[in-house]
């Protein structure tokens, strides 16, 4: 069976990446379950260990969201869902972002209160095969083991995220990072408690929580912006998607096109493109040439499939807010692209 995103058939590389991503996320769920079991066995009264457990339960959310979303996005568009089911990826991204943010917030508040109250974590002994062993050693042992899977899984996900343009995978990779950094904080905290520095546990957790909060906030912002149809960005939510520019270029390259602009929204993995072109000479070209231009644009990238091409007399300024921006830029002489284009006013 070929792998699909709605009516988009995936190229071999992406299909393979998707299969690997699904497998990775299943492995993530499994290791998190094992980790949670191990941690609760040795947790005792350490705040850091309890926090580590709550975090682990939050770390279940991104993989779950991803696996659920993947089931939906395969569906083809229907009458009731004319744009397809691709937005589920956006929802999964929102869920993952909130999980990250909650984890960071929980860790910060929990440790901050502990530090402010001067809570001194008691760590006593635990009987291992009849011998009392200081529980701190057991915690360290467990933490050193559980720190490994998120490091490995996170790195693998980071490699797949750009291939699939998958923001959920990217957010989940950051969740893995949050996971192993907080395990590291626990190791530092337990070592600190071991030498009598009771505040070390909370201090290390606070340091880590700030970076988790930052990742959570960035992802929350990105997912909300995508759901609000902001300009498409790359998988990490930082830079504008290069496909926006490439589509514009492809449209303008056609010899019968005088002017072209499009608006593009990110539906998850795939883009929804609405393109407007003004033909030269004010006369519509042969229909075959319009079809050919549309197909050339779709061939640009596997992520472009839902592509609406309108041939218009004049670019609809109310739908293309970027036009006003470009005119401003060309007036001050910054944007060579806008300057090279005849402005729409010069047209009959």
């Amino acid at each position: 069976m070929t792998a699909r995103f709605g009516h988009t058939e995936l190229p071999a590389e992406q299909a393979r990446a998707l299969r690997r991503a699904v497998r990775l996320e299943r492995v993530s769920l499994g290791t998190t379950a094992v980790t949670m079991t191990l941690v609760i066995l040795v947790a005792g009264d350490s705040q850091a260990m309890k926090a580590a457990w709550v975090e682990d339960s939050l770390a279940l959310l991104p993989p779950l969201a991803f696996l659920v979303a993947v089931r939906f996005i395969r569906r083809a568009p229907t009458t009731r869902h004319p744009y397809g089911y691709h937005r589920t990826i956006g929802i999964a991204h929102l869920v993952s972002a909130l999980a990250l943010l909650t984890m960071g917030g929980f860790l910060l508040i929990d440790s901050g209160l502990g530090l402010a109250r001067g809570e001194r974590p008691p760590i006593g002994t635990m009987s291992v095969f009849g011998t009392p062993v200081w529980q701190g050693w057991l915690m360290l042992l467990v933490m050193v083991v559980v720190i490994i899977p998120p490091v490995v899984l996170g790195r693998l996900k980071l490699r797949l995220a750009p291939l699939l343009h998958d923001k959920v995978l990217y957010a989940d990779a950051q969740m893995n990072k949050a996971d192993w950094t907080s395990s590291l904080a626990t190791i530092i905290g337990v070592l600190g408690i071991g030498v009598g520095l009771w505040w070390m546990d909370a201090a290390a957790a606070i340091a880590v929580s700030l970076s988790i909060l930052h990742d959570g906030w960035t992802n929350l912002r990105g997912s909300v912006l995508d759901l609000m149809d902001a300009r498409a960005t790359q998988y990490d939510g930082e830079d504008p998607d290069p496909l926006v520019h490439r589509t514009d270029e492809a449209l303008q390259a056609a010899d019968w096109v005088a002017e072209a602009e499009c608006r593009i929204r990110d539906q998850g993995h795939v883009l929804h493109v609405e393109a407007f072109v003004v033909p030269t000479g004010g006369a519509p070209p042969a229909l075959a040439r319009i079809t050919e231009l549309r197909e050339r644009c779709i061939a640009l990238d596997w992520r472009i499939q839902d592509f609406v091409l309108s041939v218009v007399e004049e670019l609809p300024r109310e739908l293309l807010p970027q036009l006003a921006e470009q005119e401003q830029a060309s007036a001050s002489g910054d944007d060579p692209r806008a300057a090279a284009q005849p402005s729409s006013e010069e047209h009959p």
Binding site: R120, T125, A185, I188, I193, G194, V195
Partner: protein, 168 residues
């Protein structure tokens, strides 16, 4: 990178605290202070675990605390009072250990560090209760030392002689 800084701070702290380092250590040095010194123990009346009616506290738990203090060469300063008062004294750091028939289900977990259970008994309603002692919060060297003592064959022998079930 914050974690890296914390790790550096930890290594610094480790090197500053010098060679005579034992893990776990007490933030307030209670165990070291008790060696050849004084151990402050609170007792609330809860027979047969503790009997605070006489001149000196009697019962299984005072006996266990006495043998623990003997192993440290420590004198015991007893304080007899109600459980709640003793727990707030423990929280303020004016007591080191509190005994009084406490169980693992004790509600004092945010005021005191409970030891691992060292004996079992049938409580009210026929439930099996796991018996513990309370130690000053965060004094982990004292906590581990007391736990090791309570689980030692000597202490477990004391528990058995008093007709209670040992937990191990």
């Amino acid at each position: 990178m914050g974690s890296l800084r914390a790790l550096t701070a930890l290594l610094l702290a480790l090197s500053l605290s010098g060679c005579g380092l034992s893990v776990p250590a007490d933030p307030e040095g209670t165990l070291d202070g008790a060696r050849g010194g004084e151990l402050l123990v609170g007792v609330s009346h809860s027979p047969p675990w503790t009997d605070a009616r006489g001149f000196a506290p009697a019962g299984t738990e005072p006996e266990l605390v006495r043998s623990f203090a003997a192993s440290l060469d420590a004198r015991i300063e007893w304080e007899v009072s109600g459980e709640e008062h003793l727990m707030s004294r423990l929280e303020e750091g004016e007591l080191d250990i509190v005994v009084g028939g406490l169980t693992a289900d004790s509600p004092w977990t945010s005021q005191a560090a409970l030891t691992t259970d060292y004996a079992e008994a049938t409580g009210p309603g026929g439930r099996t209760e796991k018996h513990v002692m309370a130690v000053r919060m965060g004094e982990n060297a004292l906590l581990t030392a007391l736990e090791r003592h309570l689980l030692s064959p000597e202490a477990q022998g004391t528990v058995r002689e008093s007709g209670l079930e040992t937990s191990r």
